[in-house]
Structure formats: C-alpha cells, structure tokens
Amino acid sequence: MASDATRLDVQTVDGVTVARFVDNRILDEAVIQVVGDQMYRLVDDDGLRKIVLDFQSVEHLSSAALGKLINMKKKVDASGGQLGMCNLRPDLLKIFKVTKLTKVFDIHKDIEKALKAF
C-alpha cells in the first residue's frame, strides 16, 4: 500500500506554483490516489491558480493517472486558473500523443518555457 507521504515537491517560482512528481512510475492504484489527492489540494485547499506540473522524474503513468490529470485540469479551469506541464520524457509524451491528450493539456519542453506561458 502506498504511504500518504508527500508525492509532490511544491515550490513557487515567479508567482507560479511548480509541483514536481516524486515518483518515477505513477502506475499503482494506491500511489495514483495519493498523487491525485495531493494535486487537488493545491487548488481546493491552498487556492492556487497558476500551476505547472513537472514530470522530470516520471518515466511512466497509467490511464488511471491520466484520469487524475484530466480532473486536475478541470479543477484549475473551473477556478479560472491555468495549468501547464513540462519536462515530459519521450516515452511519457508518447502516452499523451496516442491518447491525443496533447490537445487537452498545455505541454512545454522545460520549466522555463512553461513559466513564460503565464
């Protein structure tokens, strides 16, 4: 079972919240649940509106994790905020491309480009 330990490393850069995933594989259901809850809290509890998700450490994620990301995007949009993504490895980008989620998410090559979009 996944622990409830912090699975997001959260920092603020130029007024934008940068949340970096700690896990390299977001595949296990228990991990996905905790990751999702911790992402949602950024919006629901902390009231953050400008968020970048940094995938630098992530090698793979499952369709259930994609579902959490889609719900996160909906939450941010509903709050009038903006959600960006960056540092997706080629294998990870393939997951977004084959599911055509590149049309849903604002994906940037690196953190600098993601921050410039705000």
């Binding site: 595949l27 296990d28 259901e29 369709s63 959490k68 599911t99 055509k100 849903v104």
Partner: protein, 136 residues
C-alpha cells in the same frame, strides 16, 4: 510458463501480483527498455479485470498467465469472471467529445505499447504480446 496464478479481485492483491511478475521478467533478463511498457500493459489489464470485469467483487477471481516464448516474445493472458465486453463498443477516448473524460484509455495504451492485444469472443479474457530484448 513463467507465471500462472489466480487471485481475488482486490487492487492490493493485484499490485502484489504485478510486482511478482515484474520480478520474474527482470530475473529472466527482460531489458530495461521493455519493462516499463510491459508494466504499463500489465497494470491496465489487471485493473480492467479487477475493476470493470469482476467489479471489485472479492469472491470473483482473476487468472493471470505469463509466458516467455522462443522468439523472445512475452505473452500475458488475463481472465476475469465478469460478463465480458465488446472492445469495439468502448467509446474511442481519442474522439474530440471524449477527450476530457477521465477514464477509458487503458485499451488505447495497451495497443500503443504492445505488439498485439486480443480479446476472446466473450470479452473476459485479454491476451497481450510484446517481442522483447532479453539480456543473456
């Protein structure tokens, strides 16, 4: 046969089975390049069987078999005790109107990362295959 086991429809059981199979693949020399793709397909296949096939009913079993064939082909068969489904009737998650739905992408991912993904006529047995690099 590398692995053959049935387990009750529980996500923690499923995670344990997944880890056991991953360890066997690693022990048998499946390359680092192939392991993540295989793990993704295994996760999607097991999750579908436990959640959608058996509806998380712990009284129902999921049967998993894994083989390493002569041509370095990994073949996994996952069978549940559910009513089955027709994969052709699953809404295409890549259609524009489905893009923001949070579920339904497991089959698309398995087809993208495996060489072959097949269902039996009843729709309760999945087989996926991938030709892998095997380290000596």
């Amino acid at each position: 046969m590398l692995f053959s086991q049935a387990f009750s429809s529980d996500l923690h059981e499923s995670a344990s089975i997944q880890q056991q199979i991953m360890d066997i693949w690693l022990k048998n020399g499946v390359s680092d390049g192939d392991l993540p793709d295989l793990q993704l397909a295994l996760e999607e296949g097991l999750a579908n069987a436990v959640k959608h096939g058996n509806q998380l009913d712990p009284a129902k079993q999921v049967k998993v078999e894994c083989q390493l064939l002569d041509d370095c082909m990994i073949r996994v068969t996952i069978e549940d005790e559910g009513a089955g489904f027709n994969p052709e009737e699953v809404p295409d998650p890549t259609d524009f109107e489905n893009l923001d739905k949070p579920s339904g992408r497991g089959i698309v991912l398995m087809r993208a990362f495996m060489d072959e993904v097949l269902y039996n006529d009843e729709g309760n047995q999945l087989t996926f295959c991938k030709r892998c690099s095997i380290n000596a």
